[in-house]
Symmetry: C2
Subunit: 242 residues, 2 copies
Amino acid sequence: MDRTLAGDERTMAMLWGLRTQPTRGPRPTLDLDRIAQAALGIADKEGLAAVSMQRVASDLDVTKMALYRYVSSKTELLAAMIDLAIGPPPDLSQVAGGWRARLEEWARLLSASWRDHPWIPGATMGRRVMGPNEVGWVEAAVAALADTGLDGTEQMDSVLLMSGHIRNTQSSSSAGSFPWTTDGRLSPTLADVFENQPERYPALSKAISSATDSGRREDPREYGLRRILDGLELVIAARSAV
Amino acid sequence: MDRTLAGDERTMAMLWGLRTQPTRGPRPTLDLDRIAQAALGIADKEGLAAVSMQRVASDLDVTKMALYRYVSSKTELLAAMIDLAIGPPPDLSQVAGGWRARLEEWARLLSASWRDHPWIPGATMGRRVMGPNEVGWVEAAVAALADTGLDGTEQMDSVLLMSGHIRNTQSSSSAGSFPWTTDGRLSPTLADVFENQPERYPALSKAISSATDSGRREDPREYGLRRILDGLELVIAARSAV
DNA sequence: GAGACACTGTGTACGCTAGACACAGTTTGC
DNA sequence: GCAAACTGTGTCTAGCGTACACAGTGTCTC
Protein backbone atom coordinates (compact mmCIF):
# COMPACT_ATOMS: atom_id res chain seq x y z
CA MET A 1 0.00 0.00 0.00
CA ASP A 2 3.03 2.24 0.02
CA ARG A 3 2.30 3.66 3.38
CA THR A 4 5.58 5.47 3.35
CA LEU A 5 4.30 7.91 0.75
CA ALA A 6 2.71 10.94 2.26
CA GLY A 7 -0.38 12.79 1.20
CA ASP A 8 -0.34 13.96 -2.39
CA GLU A 9 2.21 11.49 -3.61
CA ARG A 10 0.25 8.62 -2.16
CA THR A 11 -2.83 9.92 -3.96
CA MET A 12 -0.88 10.29 -7.17
CA ALA A 13 0.28 6.70 -6.92
CA MET A 14 -3.33 5.60 -6.53
CA LEU A 15 -4.71 7.70 -9.36
CA TRP A 16 -2.02 6.66 -11.75
CA GLY A 17 -2.33 3.00 -10.89
CA LEU A 18 1.09 2.60 -9.34
CA ARG A 19 -0.10 0.62 -6.37
CA THR A 20 1.61 -2.68 -5.78
CA GLN A 21 -1.08 -5.16 -4.98
CA PRO A 22 -0.46 -7.63 -2.19
CA THR A 23 -0.18 -11.36 -2.61
CA ARG A 24 -1.16 -12.65 0.79
CA GLY A 25 -4.32 -12.09 2.71
CA PRO A 26 -8.00 -12.53 1.96
CA ARG A 27 -9.42 -11.64 -1.44
CA PRO A 28 -10.53 -8.02 -1.43
CA THR A 29 -14.25 -7.72 -1.95
CA LEU A 30 -13.91 -4.28 -3.50
CA ASP A 31 -11.57 -2.39 -5.73
CA LEU A 32 -10.85 1.27 -6.20
CA ASP A 33 -12.89 1.53 -9.35
CA ARG A 34 -16.06 0.15 -7.80
CA ILE A 35 -15.69 2.56 -4.89
CA ALA A 36 -15.17 5.55 -7.15
CA GLN A 37 -18.11 4.43 -9.26
CA ALA A 38 -20.38 4.23 -6.23
CA ALA A 39 -19.30 7.65 -5.04
CA LEU A 40 -19.82 9.07 -8.51
CA GLY A 41 -23.33 7.68 -8.67
CA ILE A 42 -24.22 9.32 -5.38
CA ALA A 43 -22.74 12.66 -6.38
CA ASP A 44 -24.57 12.69 -9.69
CA LYS A 45 -27.91 11.75 -8.19
CA GLU A 46 -27.86 13.60 -4.87
CA GLY A 47 -25.05 16.10 -5.06
CA LEU A 48 -21.53 16.23 -3.73
CA ALA A 49 -22.69 16.83 -0.17
CA ALA A 50 -24.40 13.44 -0.11
CA VAL A 51 -21.10 11.67 -0.66
CA SER A 52 -19.94 10.52 2.74
CA MET A 53 -17.83 7.53 3.60
CA GLN A 54 -20.82 6.06 5.37
CA ARG A 55 -23.07 6.50 2.38
CA VAL A 56 -20.62 5.10 -0.14
CA ALA A 57 -19.91 2.14 2.10
CA SER A 58 -23.55 1.33 2.61
CA ASP A 59 -24.14 1.41 -1.14
CA LEU A 60 -21.39 -1.17 -1.43
CA ASP A 61 -22.64 -3.24 1.51
CA VAL A 62 -19.56 -2.81 3.62
CA THR A 63 -18.72 -0.71 6.65
CA LYS A 64 -17.19 2.67 6.08
CA MET A 65 -13.91 1.60 7.62
CA ALA A 66 -13.49 -1.01 4.92
CA LEU A 67 -13.11 1.81 2.40
CA TYR A 68 -9.97 2.95 4.14
CA ARG A 69 -8.28 -0.22 2.94
CA TYR A 70 -8.49 1.16 -0.59
CA VAL A 71 -8.35 4.87 0.02
CA SER A 72 -6.38 6.74 2.63
CA SER A 73 -8.80 9.61 3.06
CA LYS A 74 -11.97 11.07 1.69
CA THR A 75 -9.91 13.56 -0.29
CA GLU A 76 -8.32 10.65 -2.08
CA LEU A 77 -11.69 9.12 -2.82
CA LEU A 78 -12.87 12.41 -4.26
CA ALA A 79 -9.79 12.61 -6.45
CA ALA A 80 -10.55 9.17 -7.85
CA MET A 81 -14.18 10.10 -8.32
CA ILE A 82 -13.31 13.32 -10.12
CA ASP A 83 -10.99 11.65 -12.58
CA LEU A 84 -13.58 8.98 -13.23
CA ALA A 85 -16.25 11.61 -13.84
CA ILE A 86 -14.06 13.63 -16.17
CA GLY A 87 -13.63 10.54 -18.26
CA PRO A 88 -11.21 9.77 -21.07
CA PRO A 89 -10.20 12.72 -23.23
CA PRO A 90 -11.45 13.05 -26.81
CA ASP A 91 -9.40 12.64 -29.93
CA LEU A 92 -9.47 15.95 -31.75
CA SER A 93 -6.96 15.09 -34.43
CA GLN A 94 -9.72 14.42 -36.95
CA VAL A 95 -11.47 17.74 -36.40
CA ALA A 96 -11.08 19.93 -39.45
CA GLY A 97 -10.55 23.66 -39.28
CA GLY A 98 -7.32 24.14 -37.37
CA TRP A 99 -6.70 25.03 -33.76
CA ARG A 100 -9.81 27.15 -33.32
CA ALA A 101 -12.27 24.53 -34.47
CA ARG A 102 -10.51 21.99 -32.31
CA LEU A 103 -10.63 24.13 -29.21
CA GLU A 104 -14.29 24.87 -29.86
CA GLU A 105 -15.01 21.19 -30.10
CA TRP A 106 -12.91 20.56 -27.01
CA ALA A 107 -14.89 23.13 -25.05
CA ARG A 108 -18.16 21.74 -26.32
CA LEU A 109 -17.23 18.20 -25.32
CA LEU A 110 -15.90 19.23 -21.93
CA SER A 111 -18.98 21.22 -21.19
CA ALA A 112 -21.25 18.39 -22.27
CA SER A 113 -19.34 15.95 -20.14
CA TRP A 114 -19.61 18.19 -17.10
CA ARG A 115 -23.30 18.69 -17.60
CA ASP A 116 -23.91 15.26 -16.12
CA HIS A 117 -21.72 16.10 -13.14
CA PRO A 118 -22.73 19.56 -11.99
CA TRP A 119 -20.70 19.17 -8.81
CA ILE A 120 -17.41 19.08 -10.70
CA PRO A 121 -16.77 22.84 -10.81
CA GLY A 122 -17.03 23.12 -7.06
CA ALA A 123 -14.97 20.01 -6.47
CA THR A 124 -12.14 21.07 -8.72
CA MET A 125 -11.37 24.43 -7.18
CA GLY A 126 -8.40 24.79 -4.85
CA ARG A 127 -5.32 22.68 -4.63
CA ARG A 128 -5.58 19.06 -5.61
CA VAL A 129 -4.01 16.22 -7.49
CA MET A 130 -4.73 15.59 -11.16
CA GLY A 131 -5.52 12.17 -12.53
CA PRO A 132 -4.62 10.71 -15.91
CA ASN A 133 -7.95 11.56 -17.50
CA GLU A 134 -7.77 15.19 -16.48
CA VAL A 135 -4.21 15.46 -17.74
CA GLY A 136 -5.42 13.79 -20.92
CA TRP A 137 -7.95 16.55 -21.52
CA VAL A 138 -5.23 19.12 -21.04
CA GLU A 139 -3.04 17.20 -23.46
CA ALA A 140 -5.80 17.25 -26.08
CA ALA A 141 -6.16 21.01 -25.83
CA VAL A 142 -2.45 21.70 -25.76
CA ALA A 143 -2.03 19.47 -28.79
CA ALA A 144 -4.53 21.62 -30.64
CA LEU A 145 -2.27 24.60 -29.97
CA ALA A 146 0.98 22.83 -30.76
CA ASP A 147 1.51 24.33 -34.21
CA THR A 148 0.27 27.82 -33.52
CA GLY A 149 3.61 29.39 -32.72
CA LEU A 150 2.70 29.84 -29.08
CA ASP A 151 5.40 28.74 -26.69
CA GLY A 152 4.81 26.07 -24.08
CA THR A 153 3.83 28.46 -21.33
CA GLU A 154 1.40 30.27 -23.58
CA GLN A 155 -0.16 27.00 -24.67
CA MET A 156 -0.76 25.92 -21.11
CA ASP A 157 -1.98 29.31 -20.00
CA SER A 158 -4.41 29.32 -22.89
CA VAL A 159 -5.80 25.95 -21.87
CA LEU A 160 -6.04 27.10 -18.28
CA LEU A 161 -7.99 30.10 -19.46
CA MET A 162 -10.37 27.96 -21.49
CA SER A 163 -10.99 25.32 -18.86
CA GLY A 164 -11.48 27.95 -16.21
CA HIS A 165 -14.13 29.62 -18.30
CA ILE A 166 -15.96 26.36 -18.82
CA ARG A 167 -15.89 25.72 -15.11
CA ASN A 168 -17.18 29.16 -14.27
CA THR A 169 -20.06 29.14 -16.68
CA GLN A 170 -20.94 25.60 -15.79
CA SER A 171 -21.20 26.30 -12.11
CA SER A 172 -22.70 29.62 -11.26
CA SER A 173 -26.06 28.31 -12.34
CA SER A 174 -27.28 25.86 -14.89
CA ALA A 175 -28.00 28.81 -17.15
CA GLY A 176 -24.58 30.23 -16.28
CA SER A 177 -25.24 33.77 -15.24
CA PHE A 178 -24.68 35.80 -12.11
CA PRO A 179 -25.48 34.19 -8.83
CA TRP A 180 -28.10 36.70 -7.90
CA THR A 181 -30.65 34.43 -9.31
CA THR A 182 -32.98 31.73 -8.16
CA ASP A 183 -34.11 29.79 -11.19
CA GLY A 184 -32.74 32.50 -13.46
CA ARG A 185 -34.95 35.11 -11.89
CA LEU A 186 -33.86 38.06 -9.77
CA SER A 187 -34.49 37.75 -6.08
CA PRO A 188 -37.37 39.99 -4.98
CA THR A 189 -35.01 42.07 -2.87
CA LEU A 190 -32.63 42.71 -5.76
CA ALA A 191 -35.41 43.28 -8.22
CA ASP A 192 -36.71 45.92 -5.86
CA VAL A 193 -33.31 47.59 -5.64
CA PHE A 194 -32.86 47.75 -9.39
CA GLU A 195 -36.36 48.95 -10.05
CA ASN A 196 -36.99 51.36 -7.22
CA GLN A 197 -33.48 52.60 -6.50
CA PRO A 198 -31.83 52.61 -9.91
CA GLU A 199 -29.52 55.40 -8.77
CA ARG A 200 -27.78 52.97 -6.44
CA TYR A 201 -26.46 50.84 -9.28
CA PRO A 202 -27.21 52.93 -12.36
CA ALA A 203 -25.20 51.10 -15.00
CA LEU A 204 -26.30 47.72 -13.77
CA SER A 205 -29.95 48.70 -13.52
CA LYS A 206 -29.83 49.95 -17.07
CA ALA A 207 -28.05 46.84 -18.30
CA ILE A 208 -30.56 44.57 -16.61
CA SER A 209 -33.60 46.36 -17.91
CA SER A 210 -32.19 46.44 -21.43
CA ALA A 211 -31.35 42.77 -21.14
CA THR A 212 -34.82 41.79 -20.02
CA ASP A 213 -36.29 44.00 -22.71
CA SER A 214 -34.47 42.45 -25.60
CA GLY A 215 -34.97 38.99 -24.17
CA ARG A 216 -32.43 37.63 -26.63
CA ARG A 217 -30.78 35.43 -24.03
CA GLU A 218 -27.48 34.41 -25.53
CA ASP A 219 -25.53 31.78 -23.66
CA PRO A 220 -22.92 33.48 -21.46
CA ARG A 221 -20.63 30.54 -22.01
CA GLU A 222 -20.73 30.91 -25.77
CA TYR A 223 -20.24 34.63 -25.48
CA GLY A 224 -17.19 34.29 -23.25
CA LEU A 225 -15.77 31.48 -25.32
CA ARG A 226 -15.93 33.56 -28.46
CA ARG A 227 -14.14 36.44 -26.78
CA ILE A 228 -11.39 34.15 -25.52
CA LEU A 229 -10.90 32.47 -28.87
CA ASP A 230 -10.85 35.86 -30.58
CA GLY A 231 -8.17 36.95 -28.14
CA LEU A 232 -6.14 33.83 -28.77
CA GLU A 233 -6.45 34.31 -32.50
CA LEU A 234 -4.87 37.73 -32.18
CA VAL A 235 -1.81 36.55 -30.30
CA ILE A 236 -1.45 33.54 -32.57
CA ALA A 237 -1.60 35.76 -35.62
CA ALA A 238 1.05 37.95 -34.07
CA ARG A 239 3.31 34.96 -33.42
CA SER A 240 3.04 33.58 -36.93
CA ALA A 241 3.58 37.03 -38.45
CA VAL A 242 7.08 37.07 -36.95
CA MET B 1 -36.25 39.01 12.63
CA ASP B 2 -38.59 38.36 9.75
CA ARG B 3 -38.87 34.70 10.46
CA THR B 4 -41.48 34.37 7.81
CA LEU B 5 -38.90 34.85 5.09
CA ALA B 6 -37.41 31.62 3.92
CA GLY B 7 -33.84 30.84 3.03
CA ASP B 8 -32.35 33.10 0.41
CA GLU B 9 -34.73 35.98 0.91
CA ARG B 10 -34.02 36.00 4.59
CA THR B 11 -30.32 36.12 3.83
CA MET B 12 -30.89 38.91 1.33
CA ALA B 13 -32.73 40.92 3.93
CA MET B 14 -29.80 40.50 6.29
CA LEU B 15 -27.09 41.35 3.78
CA TRP B 16 -28.92 44.40 2.53
CA GLY B 17 -29.63 45.66 6.02
CA LEU B 18 -33.38 45.32 5.84
CA ARG B 19 -33.75 43.75 9.24
CA THR B 20 -36.17 45.47 11.60
CA GLN B 21 -34.48 45.64 14.94
CA PRO B 22 -36.52 44.87 18.04
CA THR B 23 -37.38 47.32 20.77
CA ARG B 24 -37.98 45.06 23.71
CA GLY B 25 -35.68 42.57 25.29
CA PRO B 26 -32.13 42.70 26.64
CA ARG B 27 -29.44 44.67 24.85
CA PRO B 28 -27.73 42.45 22.30
CA THR B 29 -24.09 41.96 23.14
CA LEU B 30 -23.18 41.40 19.52
CA ASP B 31 -24.14 42.64 16.09
CA LEU B 32 -23.91 41.13 12.65
CA ASP B 33 -20.87 43.13 11.70
CA ARG B 34 -18.82 42.02 14.67
CA ILE B 35 -19.70 38.41 13.94
CA ALA B 36 -18.78 38.69 10.29
CA GLN B 37 -15.56 40.43 11.26
CA ALA B 38 -14.62 37.65 13.65
CA ALA B 39 -15.37 35.00 11.04
CA LEU B 40 -13.36 36.91 8.47
CA GLY B 41 -10.39 37.13 10.77
CA ILE B 42 -10.41 33.39 11.30
CA ALA B 43 -10.76 32.63 7.59
CA ASP B 44 -7.90 34.94 6.68
CA LYS B 45 -5.57 33.60 9.34
CA GLU B 46 -6.44 29.91 9.38
CA GLY B 47 -8.44 29.21 6.27
CA LEU B 48 -12.10 28.75 5.53
CA ALA B 49 -12.19 25.30 7.11
CA ALA B 50 -11.32 26.79 10.47
CA VAL B 51 -14.48 28.89 10.47
CA SER B 52 -16.97 26.98 12.59
CA MET B 53 -19.80 28.36 14.65
CA GLN B 54 -18.00 27.17 17.75
CA ARG B 55 -14.77 28.90 16.80
CA VAL B 56 -16.40 32.18 15.87
CA ALA B 57 -18.44 32.15 19.05
CA SER B 58 -15.46 31.47 21.27
CA ASP B 59 -13.57 34.35 19.65
CA LEU B 60 -16.49 36.55 20.63
CA ASP B 61 -16.80 35.06 24.12
CA VAL B 62 -20.29 33.72 23.64
CA THR B 63 -21.71 30.27 23.05
CA LYS B 64 -22.21 29.15 19.52
CA MET B 65 -25.98 29.15 19.89
CA ALA B 66 -25.91 32.86 20.61
CA LEU B 67 -24.81 33.44 17.02
CA TYR B 68 -28.08 32.03 15.78
CA ARG B 69 -29.82 35.11 17.21
CA TYR B 70 -28.08 37.14 14.52
CA VAL B 71 -27.71 34.63 11.75
CA SER B 72 -30.06 31.88 10.75
CA SER B 73 -27.45 29.46 9.49
CA LYS B 74 -23.78 29.11 8.80
CA THR B 75 -24.47 29.74 5.13
CA GLU B 76 -25.84 33.12 6.08
CA LEU B 77 -22.80 33.89 8.18
CA LEU B 78 -20.56 32.99 5.26
CA ALA B 79 -22.55 35.27 2.98
CA ALA B 80 -22.04 38.16 5.37
CA MET B 81 -18.37 37.30 5.71
CA ILE B 82 -17.89 37.15 1.95
CA ASP B 83 -19.44 40.53 1.32
CA LEU B 84 -17.38 42.01 4.10
CA ALA B 85 -14.22 40.51 2.64
CA ILE B 86 -14.98 41.72 -0.85
CA GLY B 87 -15.21 45.21 0.49
CA PRO B 88 -16.57 48.39 -1.06
CA PRO B 89 -16.13 48.71 -4.81
CA PRO B 90 -13.66 51.17 -6.29
CA ASP B 91 -14.49 54.33 -8.15
CA LEU B 92 -13.12 53.95 -11.66
CA SER B 93 -14.62 57.07 -13.11
CA GLN B 94 -11.32 58.95 -12.76
CA VAL B 95 -9.28 56.34 -14.56
CA ALA B 96 -8.12 57.66 -17.90
CA GLY B 97 -7.93 55.57 -21.02
CA GLY B 98 -11.45 54.38 -21.68
CA TRP B 99 -13.12 51.09 -20.93
CA ARG B 100 -10.04 48.95 -21.34
CA ALA B 101 -7.90 50.85 -18.89
CA ARG B 102 -10.80 50.86 -16.45
CA LEU B 103 -11.35 47.14 -16.67
CA GLU B 104 -7.63 46.53 -16.28
CA GLU B 105 -7.62 48.63 -13.15
CA TRP B 106 -10.77 46.89 -11.95
CA ALA B 107 -9.15 43.49 -12.40
CA ARG B 108 -5.99 44.64 -10.69
CA LEU B 109 -7.89 45.97 -7.70
CA LEU B 110 -10.12 42.93 -7.43
CA SER B 111 -7.18 40.61 -7.59
CA ALA B 112 -5.29 42.61 -5.00
CA SER B 113 -8.27 42.60 -2.71
CA TRP B 114 -8.68 38.86 -3.00
CA ARG B 115 -5.03 38.25 -2.31
CA ASP B 116 -5.69 38.84 1.36
CA HIS B 117 -8.59 36.40 1.30
CA PRO B 118 -7.39 33.35 -0.60
CA TRP B 119 -10.46 31.38 0.47
CA ILE B 120 -12.80 33.62 -1.53
CA PRO B 121 -12.61 31.77 -4.85
CA GLY B 122 -13.66 28.51 -3.26
CA ALA B 123 -16.35 30.15 -1.18
CA THR B 124 -17.92 31.97 -4.10
CA MET B 125 -18.51 28.99 -6.36
CA GLY B 126 -21.98 27.51 -6.64
CA ARG B 127 -25.28 29.11 -5.94
CA ARG B 128 -25.40 31.84 -3.36
CA VAL B 129 -26.73 35.26 -2.52
CA MET B 130 -24.88 38.43 -3.45
CA GLY B 131 -24.34 41.28 -1.05
CA PRO B 132 -24.26 45.00 -1.76
CA ASN B 133 -20.47 45.14 -2.00
CA GLU B 134 -20.29 42.36 -4.51
CA VAL B 135 -23.03 43.93 -6.60
CA GLY B 136 -21.11 47.18 -6.30
CA TRP B 137 -18.05 45.63 -7.91
CA VAL B 138 -20.20 44.36 -10.74
CA GLU B 139 -21.70 47.81 -11.10
CA ALA B 140 -18.25 49.35 -11.36
CA ALA B 141 -17.26 47.01 -14.17
CA VAL B 142 -20.56 47.31 -16.02
CA ALA B 143 -20.29 51.08 -15.78
CA ALA B 144 -16.91 50.89 -17.49
CA LEU B 145 -18.62 49.15 -20.39
CA ALA B 146 -21.65 51.42 -20.50
CA ASP B 147 -20.59 53.47 -23.50
CA THR B 148 -19.03 50.73 -25.56
CA GLY B 149 -22.06 49.88 -27.64
CA LEU B 150 -22.44 46.49 -25.99
CA ASP B 151 -25.99 45.72 -24.97
CA GLY B 152 -26.92 44.97 -21.37
CA THR B 153 -26.52 41.22 -21.68
CA GLU B 154 -23.15 41.55 -23.32
CA GLN B 155 -21.97 43.96 -20.64
CA MET B 156 -22.92 41.55 -17.89
CA ASP B 157 -21.54 38.53 -19.66
CA SER B 158 -18.27 40.38 -20.17
CA VAL B 159 -18.04 41.16 -16.47
CA LEU B 160 -18.88 37.56 -15.64
CA LEU B 161 -16.08 36.47 -17.92
CA MET B 162 -13.61 38.83 -16.28
CA SER B 163 -14.50 38.04 -12.69
CA GLY B 164 -14.49 34.33 -13.41
CA HIS B 165 -11.00 34.58 -14.79
CA ILE B 166 -9.78 36.45 -11.75
CA ARG B 167 -11.29 33.82 -9.52
CA ASN B 168 -9.73 30.99 -11.44
CA THR B 169 -6.26 32.38 -11.52
CA GLN B 170 -6.47 33.43 -7.91
CA SER B 171 -7.43 30.03 -6.67
CA SER B 172 -5.71 27.16 -8.39
CA SER B 173 -2.51 28.14 -6.68
CA SER B 174 -0.99 31.34 -5.48
CA ALA B 175 1.02 31.41 -8.68
CA GLY B 176 -2.12 30.53 -10.60
CA SER B 177 -1.15 27.59 -12.74
CA PHE B 178 -2.37 24.06 -13.14
CA PRO B 179 -3.11 22.15 -10.00
CA TRP B 180 -0.54 19.50 -10.66
CA THR B 181 1.84 21.40 -8.58
CA THR B 182 3.03 21.53 -5.02
CA ASP B 183 4.78 24.83 -4.49
CA GLY B 184 4.85 25.44 -8.21
CA ARG B 185 6.81 22.26 -8.82
CA LEU B 186 5.65 19.13 -10.59
CA SER B 187 4.86 16.20 -8.39
CA PRO B 188 7.53 13.51 -8.67
CA THR B 189 5.03 11.12 -10.22
CA LEU B 190 4.01 13.57 -12.93
CA ALA B 191 7.55 14.69 -13.53
CA ASP B 192 8.40 11.06 -14.10
CA VAL B 193 5.56 10.65 -16.57
CA PHE B 194 6.51 13.69 -18.60
CA GLU B 195 10.20 12.86 -18.61
CA ASN B 196 10.23 9.12 -19.03
CA GLN B 197 7.02 8.52 -20.96
CA PRO B 198 6.73 11.62 -23.14
CA GLU B 199 4.77 9.60 -25.70
CA ARG B 200 1.87 9.40 -23.26
CA TYR B 201 1.25 13.14 -23.35
CA PRO B 202 3.45 14.32 -26.20
CA ALA B 203 2.18 17.87 -26.69
CA LEU B 204 2.08 18.52 -22.96
CA SER B 205 5.52 17.06 -22.34
CA LYS B 206 6.91 19.27 -25.04
CA ALA B 207 5.11 22.34 -23.73
CA ILE B 208 6.36 21.73 -20.23
CA SER B 209 9.95 21.19 -21.19
CA SER B 210 9.93 24.26 -23.40
CA ALA B 211 8.35 26.24 -20.58
CA THR B 212 10.92 25.20 -18.02
CA ASP B 213 13.66 25.84 -20.53
CA SER B 214 12.75 29.38 -21.30
CA GLY B 215 12.02 30.11 -17.67
CA ARG B 216 10.28 33.33 -18.65
CA ARG B 217 7.44 32.74 -16.21
CA GLU B 218 4.73 35.17 -17.27
CA ASP B 219 1.78 35.48 -14.97
CA PRO B 220 -1.07 33.28 -16.25
CA ARG B 221 -3.54 35.81 -14.95
CA GLU B 222 -2.04 38.62 -16.96
CA TYR B 223 -1.85 36.41 -20.01
CA GLY B 224 -5.49 35.41 -19.79
CA LEU B 225 -6.60 38.91 -18.98
CA ARG B 226 -4.94 40.27 -22.07
CA ARG B 227 -6.61 37.65 -24.26
CA ILE B 228 -10.01 38.45 -22.79
CA LEU B 229 -9.59 42.19 -23.18
CA ASP B 230 -8.37 41.72 -26.73
CA GLY B 231 -11.47 39.66 -27.44
CA LEU B 232 -13.70 42.30 -25.92
CA GLU B 233 -11.98 44.98 -27.95
CA LEU B 234 -12.89 43.15 -31.14
CA VAL B 235 -16.57 42.88 -30.38
CA ILE B 236 -16.68 46.46 -29.15
CA ALA B 237 -15.02 47.67 -32.31
CA ALA B 238 -17.58 45.73 -34.31
CA ARG B 239 -20.44 47.31 -32.38
CA SER B 240 -19.21 50.85 -32.78
CA ALA B 241 -18.48 50.29 -36.45
CA VAL B 242 -22.19 49.72 -37.03
C1' DG C 1 -46.35 50.31 39.25
C1' DA C 2 -47.75 45.56 37.37
C1' DG C 3 -47.86 42.41 34.18
C1' DA C 4 -47.47 40.68 29.53
C1' DC C 5 -44.52 40.29 25.94
C1' DA C 6 -40.41 39.99 23.14
C1' DC C 7 -36.13 39.33 23.07
C1' DT C 8 -31.39 37.75 25.02
C1' DG C 9 -27.65 34.24 25.82
C1' DT C 10 -27.06 29.41 27.78
C1' DG C 11 -27.19 24.35 28.27
C1' DT C 12 -28.44 20.16 26.60
C1' DA C 13 -29.35 17.06 23.05
C1' DC C 14 -29.37 14.80 18.38
C1' DG C 15 -27.70 13.03 14.23
C1' DC C 16 -24.19 13.45 11.38
C1' DT C 17 -19.15 13.66 9.88
C1' DA C 18 -13.95 11.79 9.15
C1' DG C 19 -10.99 8.86 10.91
C1' DA C 20 -7.84 6.03 14.73
C1' DC C 21 -7.31 1.67 16.52
C1' DA C 22 -7.81 -3.13 18.11
C1' DC C 23 -9.44 -7.39 16.67
C1' DA C 24 -10.75 -11.81 14.44
C1' DG C 25 -10.77 -14.19 10.21
C1' DT C 26 -8.48 -15.51 5.65
C1' DT C 27 -5.04 -16.35 2.34
C1' DT C 28 -0.29 -17.06 0.93
C1' DG C 29 4.89 -17.95 1.15
C1' DC C 30 8.29 -20.44 3.40
C1' DG D 1 2.42 -26.03 9.84
C1' DC D 2 3.21 -21.69 10.97
C1' DA D 3 4.17 -16.90 10.49
C1' DA D 4 3.34 -12.95 7.92
C1' DA D 5 0.28 -10.01 5.51
C1' DC D 6 -3.77 -8.63 4.46
C1' DT D 7 -9.06 -8.34 4.97
C1' DG D 8 -13.51 -6.34 6.84
C1' DT D 9 -15.76 -5.18 11.41
C1' DG D 10 -16.87 -2.88 15.78
C1' DT D 11 -15.85 0.52 18.90
C1' DC D 12 -14.35 5.00 19.91
C1' DT D 13 -13.24 10.02 19.76
C1' DA D 14 -13.52 14.77 18.52
C1' DG D 15 -15.96 17.81 15.99
C1' DC D 16 -19.71 19.67 13.16
C1' DG D 17 -24.49 22.36 12.38
C1' DT D 18 -28.50 23.24 14.62
C1' DA D 19 -33.19 22.29 17.21
C1' DC D 20 -35.25 23.27 21.52
C1' DA D 21 -36.28 24.41 26.36
C1' DC D 22 -35.06 27.66 29.68
C1' DA D 23 -34.00 31.63 32.82
C1' DG D 24 -32.94 36.34 32.71
C1' DT D 25 -33.79 41.18 30.95
C1' DG D 26 -35.57 45.07 28.90
C1' DT D 27 -39.80 47.71 27.11
C1' DC D 28 -44.53 48.66 26.08
C1' DT D 29 -49.35 48.74 27.69
C1' DC D 30 -52.68 49.08 31.14
